[in-house]
Symmetry: C2
Subunit: 356 residues, 2 copies
């Protein structure tokens, strides 16, 4: 079959360790399913600042652009986070999203059976929780004009939140389509009682909703959604919202499940190109110790197979292998009940590879 | 003693019913403690739209301005909420906050003993949760310039978020002072890795922190805070944040406790003037049935005694009376385990009055 190109960005902290295990899984699926991949490593984040003086070197963007998909470990750490300039829209995470046109962030929040008790929510409340936050990723206040000016009240800092109809329509249509393939429920989250950008958002949602008559739509105000996620998490299917609301709500939703260390995510643009990464961060405190859990990254690879390549057989096989290894009782330290029985990052990776 | 003036805004839905019980409590404290109050009723919200054609009539503002404090029931309902213009900064809730200079919203989130099991969180996680969200209430994106313009991508809607140093400093100082009277911990929430207004926010917090050396300060990013509230609610004491983040996080925090129907809130400006209201809404579905729980409104009155008038004895007595009535097993429908034993709004009010 055709050779697929994957840009691999290991990043910082535990990023290189978890990505290494996902690469073993990649190699194994190649052997078993006859798919062919070509990987190219690229620098991004703190390690790129150290080696190239910028978090997003031009050559990294080039490598991503000529690839079919990107696998990302994690970026950032105390060493660099103090310099928030590295996260400005021109550079870093926001920069790579904009440069690659990744306007949609898909964050499934599901409960893993083996982690049922890890949530701070009561099991009966959590029962059946399986939702997906679709977050607009390249618009809104994170990308709007920003400046300071002097006033009689000292310095004033200004951020601008803008959305146009085209931006809203493409992400909302994508969310409707995702809902059609799931439980056919969509919650559109806004603050239409106050914000002009939210009023436009809601108008667009209402205008295109008739194209998806099989999807049950509700409009939820963002403050109310923060509450409802706690009160009735299992009643949500797909949640679509703008960039900042999605940032906050997707983290809340992930934490609800108790499974945050196991969750994968996809950032998509037009077409099948996507960037895949675990929801968890770079965990600098445990970096380099061979104790991090590689499962979220391995599941991000499975998501890439499913969404970018349409290799459902390989995706299914990886997900089944993860389930099998967990069912057999193997755990890394983060999910082990008896920490003395915890296995290493590499041991977990190898068990999953063997189970595929 | 001096006569204190209280503007009473019953509002919509269950507002008039719960406010009526709080007024009985007011009268009783007058008799028992010798304080003297003069109340004046004013129209606001949906009922004002119906009777005066505007949610915030000029005479309502006048009544509030010549009062020492405002007691508010609840406003809004399906009949009016569709007209979101009524919530614009010039009118409605945002309008009254701006016109009265109420720049600070204090929302305690505590767990009531009798509702320990009502939370969706596990009891052991919730244990000891007692936090206060201090939300900036008259700045930020809810009050910034808003407009639409035509672009090649259809209409574009723009909101502006602005904060100046004076606005930030006054709310943050208030939060530090509140923390000094509590467990001396302050979490300042921002998105300083992306937003300019958040960077200024954090700069101001860092600049004034040395004036409060006894308060332990942490900076938390808003997305992380949405997670940490779920993971470790009891570790928070005071949380201070800007308007929109506070809107979202205070609702999340209130819902965490399972006690949302019992929580009171205060909106303050410079000096002792304040507007006091229950955290819950107007609950139009149960309006007029004499089943609503008046406790959150009665506790809001107690908060008024404490914060605006400095009548700690009366505040203590009201809070003790509420505890006594609950301890004796009396419940309105919302908090009753056995709904057939639920008592009415007026019965609850009278029991509390009798217990003072
Ligand atoms: C680091 C930051 C810019 C980023 C965001 O808010 O988008 C992160 O929180 C995320 O959610 O991916
Ligand atoms: C109705 C709305 C404008 C208001 C707000 O967001 O401020 C409400 O949600 C609140 O929190 O008091």
């Amino acid at each position: 079959s055709e050779i697929k190109k994957i840009a691999v960005i290991a990043g910082d902290g535990i990023g290189p360790e978890v990505v290494a295990e996902a690469e073993k899984v990649l190699k194994r699926t190649e052997e078993l399913f006859g798919y062919r991949f070509e990987t190219e490593h690229a620098l991004f984040g703190g390690v790129a600042i150290d080696e190239k003086g910028t978090p997003l070197p031009e050559e990294t963007l080039e490598i991503c652009k000529k690839s079919d998909a990107v696998l990302l470990g994690a970026v950032g750490g105390p060493k660099w986070d103090s310099n928030s300039a590295d996260l400005r829209p021109e550079t870093g995470l926001l920069g790579i999203r904009k440069a690659l046109g990744l306007f949609s962030n898909l964050r499934p929040a599901v409960v893993f059976d083996c982690l049922k008790d890890a949530s701070t929510l009561k099991p009966e409340v959590l029962e059946g929780t399986d939702l997906m936050v679709v977050r607009e990723l390249t618009g809104g206040i994170y990308f709007g004009e920003k400046f300071r000016r002097d006033t009689e009240f000292g310095q004033e800092a200004v951020d601008t939140c803008a959305y146009n109809e085209t931006e809203i329509e493409r992400i909302v249509r994508q969310a409707f389509e995702i809902a059609q393939k799931r439980r056919k429920k969509l919650a559109s989250v806004d603050k239409a009682n106050v914000l002009e950008s939210s009023r436009l958002w809601r108008e667009v949602v209402i205008r295109i909703a008739p194209d998806y008559p099989d999807v049950e739509l509700e409009h939820v105000l963002v403050d109310n959604c923060a509450m409802q996620l706690l009160r009735r998490p299992s009643s949500f299917d797909v949640i679509v919202t703008e960039n900042m609301f999605g940032d906050i709500l997707s983290d809340e939703a992930a934490m609800l499940t108790g499974s945050i260390g196991m969750l994968s995510s996809a950032s998509m643009g037009e077409g099948s190109f996507g960037l895949y990464e675990p929801v968890h961060g770079s965990a600098p405190d445990i970096a380099g110790q061979n104790v991090a859990n590689p499962i979220a990254t391995i599941l991000s690879l499975a998501l890439m197979f499913r969404l970018t390549f349409g290799y459902a057989d390989a995706a299914d096989a990886i997900e089944a292998a993860v389930a099998e290894v967990l069912d057999a009782g193997h755990r890394t330290g983060d999910i082990a009940v008896d920490k003395s029985q915890a296995i290493s990052t590499t041991a977990m990776g190898e068990l999953i590879v063997a189970a595929i």
